[in-house]
């Protein structure tokens, strides 16, 4: 494993996400590479490092809105912690597993953020996007994340 190379890969994912969403204003059209970065990191490092990464990039993402910060950090952090636990269940990273793992992880993070932002009195319309648009967005992110990871492995070597 090459931690430095993987760190650079994660940093590039974060920068690419900020460029696509904020710089180019693509919004929901662009994949959620922040969630992908946290979930892939969760397969390779300790829970505390994942939580720190989720907190940092969650705060950056939340700063684009006007409400209190923290929802995105919590959503990503919960998905990341769940990701670290999957290491005890599944070893190895086949493309099929990565697609499924990123899909479920991104969907979980989205659902957690949506619920946390609603507060104690959730909107009745909350669940419709979570079962219609959110899975499509999660699938798109999972596909983009798998392609990015494959490219990283080709460039940095199979053991990276």
């Amino acid at each position: 494993m090459r931690p430095v190379a993987f760190g650079v890969f994660v940093a590039l994912l974060v920068l690419l996400d900020l460029m696509l969403h904020t710089g180019l204003g693509m919004g929901g059209v662009a994949p959620d590479l922040l969630a992908v970065a946290v979930l892939l990191t969760a397969r390779r490092t300790t829970a505390v490092k994942v939580a720190v990464l989720a907190l940092a990039i969650g705060l950056i993402d939340d700063a684009m809105g006007v409400g209190n910060l923290g929802a995105r950090s919590l959503g990503l952090g919960l998905a990341g912690l769940a990701g670290t636990w999957t290491r005890q269940l599944v070893e190895g990273e086949s493309p099929l597993f990565i697609v499924l793992y990123l899909f479920l992880g991104t969907w979980l993070a989205d659902a957690a953020v949506a619920v946390l932002r609603q507060g104690p009195a959730p909107d009745q319309q909350l669940w419709l996007p979570l079962v219609t648009t959110a899975p499509i967005a999660a699938a798109w992110s999972a596909l983009a994340g798998t392609v990015a990871l494959t490219m990283f492995r080709i460039i940095a070597g199979r053991d990276a």
Partner: protein, 297 residues
Amino acid sequence: MPDFGGTRRKRRRDTALAIGILLFAFFLLFGPASWSRPIRESVFATVMRPFVAVRGWVAERRSEREDLVVVRAQRDSLAAVAAAQAVLGEENARLRGLLGLGERAGRLYRPAQMLRLGANAAEGTFLLDLGEEEGVAVGSPVFTVGGLVGVVREVYAHTSQAIDWTHPDFRVSGMTADGRVYGLIGPRRGGFREEDLLLMAGAPFHSDVRPGTRIVTSGRGEIFPRGIPIGEIANIESADTGWRKSYVIRPSVRPEAAAQVLVGLATSGGTDLSVAFELEPAAREPTPPVPTDSLPQ
């Protein structure tokens, strides 16, 4: 498989620290807004600065590619609104002179570029390329020639963040264009963002507002000027019960379609823009203003 956690004790400590970090995010989320503000300001001033600059550049290039006739028409309409408020300003200055009051700030509104950031958290919000240095304040109204768009919520040196009418915190005091029926207007969430509408709640039970009736700002909240178009009545809210009626409003302006906007250089309550929007000014209510618009938290 690499040994990520080391000993069992080390793994437990690691998990406890991770949960502690998540608890910090939890307190930030449910704590006072003042805890978030310095972090947001730092993020905007450092990490996000180049990305916001790129967003501004992209928006500028995009507007250059738009049809010149459309852009010219939008600018002419904005100029007409600005000219109308200048007449009001002159009248205001004359009355202030008669009453022996001091002069107020010259311009009340400025044109600005509206930037949608596209981030997950930025739903229902947008960035303006004017800030505190240009006279924008928390509570400044934002509108286009078509009607009301939103209100400023956070102000920095040369930029500001605003919420549009789809944001759950948005509220404006509205009335029918003839001034007969008043109500408090907020967003009415649709299944998807494109289906978002507005809801005028608190209208008297005996009121009978027909579909198609124009709804404008009433100016009662002292945030929005009076007379800015909000939308048209679509129908009566079917779920409404009790002694008051609620009406669904089809908005005049979809925030995602707006690019060039006018921003109030302070909370512009007290002014009347009915003439600027080619509406007959409605008679003012005898009751004193009640603060009902979206207020800074």
